[in-house]
């Protein structure tokens, strides 16, 4: 069984990485590998299909964000599920959330 599915969509200078599954010590490498190949200015990580993120997963999101900012780019986290959003808020990562994020299921 695949624990994390990573899909990449690129359009108009924006790379959207859509995750499905769980993000933890076991699966962060998959995300890091995909993100390592992204060259676009803006990176969007869609968490709507992620049912579980722990502190190791959050740390890897934070690292990716720091990386992107250092390169002068922009990274946004989209549509976390409520449990995940709560954990993000607890560790202060909600600042990475896209403002006015469209609710899960609705495409831009």
């Amino acid at each position: 069984m695949l624990l994390l599915k990573v899909d990449v969509y690129v359009a108009r200078g924006v790379c959207r990485v859509v995750l499905n599954g769980e993000l933890d010590m076991e699966t962060i490498a998959q995300l890091q590998e995909v993100v390592g190949k992204v060259g676009e200015h803006t990176l969007e990580v869609d968490l709507s299909g992620v049912s579980f993120v722990d502190s190791t997963g959050l740390k890897s999101l934070l690292d990716i964000n720091n990386d992107w900012r250092q390169k002068g780019g922009r990274m946004l986290i989209l549509r976390p599920q409520p449990d995940v959003a709560e954990v993000m808020q607890l560790v202060g990562l909600d600042r990475l959330l896209a403002q006015n994020t469209a609710p899960a299921g609705e495409e831009r």
């Binding site: 010590m25 076991e26 722990d54 740390k59």
Partner: protein, 418 residues
């Protein structure tokens, strides 16, 4: 000064060591018996053997062929060497006074020996080392002495070395050499140590508790050849007891501090208390984590074991289990977990056999949000503190145990009986 020249002519047989004109008389003047063998090294690296006959904190009376005047370095230990300069017209024959110009230590330099260094030469440690090396073949003496002094220096118990016993081991028999004769050693253990030391031709050290459990000995075995060696034994019972007492006090202080900042929710349990905590109630599920792919498996198992809880609580419990297990993977190569139910609480227990959390890092590791020794965000404990109602932590060099209690509210309990 002229006295020495005259003395050399008139009384060539009179020893300089006891002469008050040779080296300053005073309470810190020490005659070494037997003399300590050292090497003088000049700036070109040429070495002259010498014996320290007498010394105080500012000078040495040496028996040596080294030319005077002249500047030399004496290496007393790996990280301790002394620059000396020969004083002309002081002493006679081959006995000369050398002023200490500079003492180099790992921590810096000084113009005289400090009390520890003085003790090293004059006090028990130096004497013990002398005793042992005196019986050695000449070509081995320096080597063994150097090794031994380095060992003694490394041992943080240098202050406890006052009490000791030195024995010579030869072909299975011990002979008392010096020190505290009535020190009652576990001879069987001592012989085993000496056998290992002589067979492997290397210094062996072991801390041994006496058969009645009343005394703790620090035993050093120093091989001379394949069948003989020296045994140094120190009674460190008091030192150990002192350390234990300090550790207990320290733990109590940490316990109080941590309880205070967490509102009493994080409790540092001792081994006995922890045994009780991990055995209360009935087991719901258990598992083991050795690799990262065991993590999602553990979360699945715990969710399945708690079908009646609402999804938010199940998520919280799975998250905390995941955090605790991730810690065991990062710091201890894995661990095992258990879920138990006791009354109104689900208790998650995670144990590992890692090196434990150092007392000095305990507060930071558990309470600071971004502290981590292993490069993660370090907020795992923060999350556990947020979601769990009570946390019990026991950590020792043999491993760490963490128990997390999650209260089950009345609504959860109703669901359970549905």
């Amino acid at each position: 000064m002229r006295r020495c020249l005259e003395c050399a002519k008139k009384e060539p047989g009179r020893p300089c060591v006891d002469c008050k004109y040779f080296i300053q008389q005073g309470p810190l003047r020490r005659v070494l018996s037997p003399p300590v063998r050292v090497l003088l090294e000049d700036e070109h690296g040429k070495q002259y053997p010498a014996h320290i006959l007498v010394f105080n904190t500012t000078g040495f009376g040496l028996e040596t062929e080294a030319p005077v005047p002249g500047r030399y370095v004496i290496r007393l230990q790996e990280s301790l060497w002394v620059e000396v300069a020969g004083v002309p017209f002081r002493g006679k024959n081959n006995v000369r006074l050398f002023d200490i110009i500079c003492v180099h230590r790992r921590q810096g330099t000084a113009s005289r020996l400090n009390s520890d260094e003085y003790q090293l030469l004059a006090g028990s440690a130096g004497e013990l080392v002398q005793e042992i090396t005196r019986h050695l073949p000449e070509h081995l003496q320096d080597l063994v002495r150097e090794k031994l002094l380095a060992e003694v220096e490394k041992s943080e118990l240098i202050n406890a070395l006052r009490v000791g016993k030195v024995m010579k081991y030869e072909g299975g028999r011990f002979r008392y050499l010096s020190g505290q004769a009535d020190l009652d050693l576990p001879m069987e253990e001592a012989e085993k140590l000496m056998r290992q030391a002589t067979r492997q031709a290397e210094h062996r050290r072991e801390v041994i508790i006496s058969a009645d459990g009343q005394k703790v000995f620090d035993l050093h075995g120093v091989p001379f050849d394949y069948r003989s060696g020296g045994l140094l034994a120190f009674d460190i019972t008091e030192v150990i007891e002192k350390e234990r007492r300090m550790h207990r006090q320290e733990m109590q202080a940490y316990r109080d501090a941590i309880a205070a900042v967490t509102g009493g929710r994080l409790y540092l349990a001792n081994g006995k208390e922890m045994e009780k905590v991990v055995s209360e109630g009935a087991e719901l599920a258990k598992g083991e984590v050795r690799q990262t792919h065991d993590l999602p498996e553990a979360r699945r198992a715990i969710r399945e074991a708690l079908p009646a809880l609402d999804s938010r609580k199940r998520h919280a419990i799975a998250l905390c289990l995941s955090e605790a297990l991730t810690n065991t993977l990062k710091h201890a190569g894995g661990g095992c977990w258990q879920a138990r139910q006791s009354g109104d609480a689900v208790r998650i227990i995670v144990r590992d056999r890692g090196p434990g959390i150092k007392t000095s890092e305990l507060a930071r590791a558990t309470l600071m949000q971004h502290y981590s020794t292993k490069n993660s965000m370090g907020c795992g404990f923060t999350l556990m503190l947020y979601y769990a109602d009570y946390l019990y932590l026991n950590t020792a060099p043999s491993g760490t145990a963490l128990a997390l209690d999650f209260g089950i509210g009345p609504a959860d309990r109703l669901k359970q009986y549905q």
